[in-house]
């Protein structure tokens, strides 16, 4: 629980205007962490020490999976003379998520600095920033920022005289949610159809073009300079104990002030809805919310008391942190309709590689359509739950899981509403 959030000073979001110009960014202390690290690379900030600092800070991936970033970095094997890569995941296609674009637009150098430090730490030669194709304007911001960073000597050969060489490139997606999955992202970077890879081998063993690769979310890398500037102890003390640090909450839906807000993790959901986002609009009551993007299980209004936005609290409450993209739904929301549109999304985005997801997402959508139009029967609800168990855990990647969870939990938690939508059976008595 975060108590003093009203006085929180943002660290990722700049305090006034954007910091796209290198000089503006440097004026607020930007690139200091990188300079400190490279200056002390033989002593305080060996690669090992940087990785340990990030690990100790407890930064967990902000892309949805919440895996300890420093720990992920430590999986990279010893260098063997060949190329190594970071792929920065800016695909941001999870419905309800719109936070990484804020970094691209207002503080791109924070991410760039974090990525360079990360590339130094795991001895990567290049960072490929994969940005979803629809973010054309933000791709332009990033490309300009990278060009400026090269000009200022923060990228390229012999950065700041340290002997370290790191390149950075932007790669544009072209409209595929599945390419946010780390191995599908790599396939897409390699110029192929975005089919996720079978794991093992894992990206750290065999990633981009067969070389060791680490994939990190944009926001995760943007946290790295913060950790180095304030120290891992202070960072670990921020927000929730097992899930520390600042996080960008993307609040959307039926609130008065939707938008991106930065607060430490562990904010009470009720604080976020009723204080930060200005409460429910039009004086309506809260019905439900989806806390971390469409893949995370929906929570009813009566399930969110005392629940805070961090991995453990949400898991106990029966959901997940995900991307912290919160969709707030008021009492007039047709939950059946809402779920139908979600199944349509997953059906549209399934890559089609493996059987349970390819056929299952289509079947789920057809069932939800039948129920939505009033043609559904009660046994269809049981079939839906059955299908979700058939899809989960059997596929190459987690898209099938992400498609199954909303169906399972929305139907279970709003059973009455779904049953009411179904056709009355012949044998029902008044």
């Amino acid at each position: 629980m975060v108590n003093d959030y009203q006085n929180y000073k943002t660290l990722i979001l700049p305090s006034k205007g954007h910091l796209r110009n290198v000089s503006d960014y440097e004026a607020t202390g930007g690139y200091k962490a990188l300079k400190d690290v490279l200056a002390a690379k033989e002593s305080t900030w060996t690669r090992e020490n940087v990785i340990n600092e990030v690990k100790t800070a407890g930064l967990r991936g902000r892309g949805g999976a919440g895996f300890n970033t420093g720990l992920k970095w430590s999986f990279m094997p010893k260098p063997d003379g060949g190329k190594r890569y970071i792929a920065a995941n800016g695909d941001e296609s999870e419905p309800g998520t719109f936070k990484d674009r804020v970094i691209f637009e207002f503080n791109p150098h924070l991410f760039i600095e974090g990525a360079i430090i990360g590339a130094y730490a795991i001895q990567a030669d290049a960072v490929y920033v994969y940005i979803r194709g629809e973010y054309r304007s933000w791709i332009n911001f990033m490309e300009k920022a990278i060009t400026d960073a090269y000009k200022a000597g923060y990228l390229g050969k012999n950065i700041l005289g340290s002997g370290v060489n790191i390149d950075m490139y932007v790669h544009s997606g072209a409209g595929a949610y599945i390419c946010g999955e780390e191995s599908s992202l790599m396939e897409s970077l390699e110029g192929k159809r975005g089919y996720p890879r079978v794991k093992p081998p894992f990206p750290a063993q065999r990633g981009l073009w067969g070389r060791p690769t680490t994939i990190n979310n944009i926001e995760s890398l943007a946290n790295v300079p913060l950790i180095l500037n304030m120290g891992s102890a202070k960072y670990a003390a921020m927000g929730a104990k097992t899930h520390p640090g600042p996080v960008l909450y993307g609040i959307s839906g039926h609130v008065n002030r939707p938008g991106v807000y930065e607060y430490p993790t562990g904010m009470l959901i009720t604080d976020l809805i009723y204080d930060v986002a200005g409460g429910m609009r039009n004086g309506k009551k809260l019905k439900a919310l989806v806390p971390g993007g469409s893949s995370t299980p929906i929570l009813r209004a009566d399930q969110i008391d005392g629940v805070s936005m961090d991995a453990d609290s949400l898991r106990t409450a029966g959901s997940m942190m995900g991307t912290a993209g919160m969709a707030i739904l008021d009492e007039d929301t047709d939950i059946v309709d809402f779920l139908y549109r979600i199944t349509h999304f997953y059906h549209h985005e399934s890559c089609g590689q493996c059987t349970p997801c390819r056929e299952g997402t289509g079947w789920l959508e057809k069932l939800l359509h039948k129920i939505k139009t009033g043609e559904g029967e009660l046994r269809d609800l049981d079939l839906l739950l059955d299908l979700t168990s058939q899809m989960e855990g059997r596929t190459v990647c987690a898209l099938a899981d992400a498609a199954a969870w909303p169906v399972r939990y929305t139907v279970t938690r709003f059973r009455d509403e779904f049953e009411a939508r179904c056709k009355k059976s012949v044998f029902a008595f008044a």
Partner: protein
């Protein structure tokens, strides 16, 4: 119509290729380049990209058909992608879509007879807090749509007045 790349194009394509260790990786960015130049990547354009990069034609076709932003046929001058997913759905995305259909007299997936507008339904575009919204031809986002805003946007586009990029400042940055 024959589609070709001139020497300027080929220079830019070489610069794209230089970013990656393999030619295969240039499939996606060069398809984008071709779409910028020709407005779409139909079958002939796909063959041109394949020949230019010396990659199998079937591979380029597979890539072009996997990703939805590549237009596989000629579209209207302005392709309007209206988001109807998740937050946009519950904030009136479908109302905007239907209003647009009425205003232009075409259905989703169609192009106006004068070749000016195409309407598509999009999945989440990453603008959930500014719903409902639409994107113009894989480029500018138009946020906080209302029927009136949609109407005036269409009028502007009819005169080829593209709206500017709208920078939406996060609330915490506005207060300082």
């Amino acid at each position: 119509m024959t589609y070709t790349f001139d020497s300027e194009d080929l220079k830019k394509i070489d610069a794209i290729k230089a970013k990656y260790p393999t030619v295969l990786s240039a499939s996606m960015p060069v398809l984008w380049y071709a779409q910028e130049k020709f407005g779409h990547v139909n079958n002939e354009v796909q063959h041109l990209v394949a020949q230019t990069l010396a990659l199998p034609e079937s591979h380029i076709h597979g890539v072009a058909t996997f990703y939805t932003q590549y237009f596989k046929k000629e579209m209207g001058k302005y392709v309007l992608d209206v988001c109807t997913c998740f937050s946009c759905q519950v904030c009136g995305g479908y109302e905007m879509l239907h209003h647009l259909e009425e205003k232009l007299g075409i259905k989703v997936g169609e192009t106006t007879p004068d070749g000016k507008f195409s309407i598509q339904q999009a999945e989440c575009l990453g603008a959930c807090g500014y719903a409902p919204m639409l994107q113009i031809t894989n480029d500018v986002y138009v946020n906080h749509l209302t029927k009136e805003k949609v109407d005036s946007l269409i009028e502007d586009l009819k005169q080829d007045k593209m709206p500017e990029f709208e920078s939406i400042i996060p609330p915490q940055m506005q207060n300082s």
